[in-house]
Symmetry: C2
């Protein structure tokens, strides 16, 4: 279920240098943790979960692995607020929606044939290599459940 390291999962994983990528137990464990839940755990949360399978793993190694996997294009780092970075195995272009009621993080797909950069008046000649979109608000669940969900 997770045996697809060398398959670029979408067209974004072009310049990955797998020749320089040593697949250690720890990197595998971190990768597996991210794919097991598909929520958006922080490094600490990944550490806690990875420790269940591999008690000897260290937090520094989790950070190293997340960095390596991010470099390799196998994982995306999600930055919002001043909180800890979150990590996400969804390689398709997508945005993140943070519900301020239930504190959940949801992936939001790009509409078919839409372009994330489309609404923005970029100066002529700009080259956009990366776009990160973070939305905050109230998700449909919480909205249905009243304004102060999970109170």
């Amino acid at each position: 279920m997770v045996e697809k390291f060398k398959e670029p999962q979408d067209s974004q994983t072009a310049e990955v240098d797998f020749g320089d990528f040593r697949m250690t137990k720890q990197r595998r464990a971190v990768f597996d943790v991210l794919h097991a839940e598909r929520d958006h755990p922080t490094a600490s949360e990944v550490y806690i979960r990875a420790k269940e399978q591999m008690p000897s793993i260290s937090l520094a190694t989790v950070y190293n692995c997340l960095e390596t996997l991010t470099q390799a294009g196998l994982v995306k780092q999600v930055n919002v607020d001043r909180e800890a970075s979150r990590y996400c195995p969804n390689l398709k272009p997508h945005a993140h929606f943070f519900c301020s009621h239930c504190q959940e993080v949801y992936d939001v797909d790009l509409r078919p044939s839409a372009d994330a950069v489309e609404p923005w008046a970029l100066p002529e000649g700009s080259i956009v290599e990366h776009v990160e979109v973070a939305m905050k608000g109230c998700c449909p669940n919480c909205r249905g459940a009243g304004t102060k969900a999970n109170a």
Copy 2:
């Protein structure tokens, strides 16, 4: 030039509670710093600049002031990567473009009658209160000057 604290500068500053907003020398200094350069300084940078005009100001106070001004809707906090937050006095809806060559941060306006959320397939019933868009790439200046500008 900076005498417009109580003028909402665009339609976003609706629920600001100015009744609870005491304009101290420090808050004024921080506000002025942000408007003087209009680059996107970090809290530390604001601190250094504010200290020139007011040597007694402390870093903690700068953080406090930035927080207060952000709450009041007079300033926007910009989060990218794991670096320190940057602050921006541009209240119009806009995105940020980080040039990875010159390290500059540019504001990018929303196209007329465009919607930042438009490209995204949000689930029915979502309420978006806030959108933060950060792009990374190469700005026209650096692109013209060759790939490794400011090297």
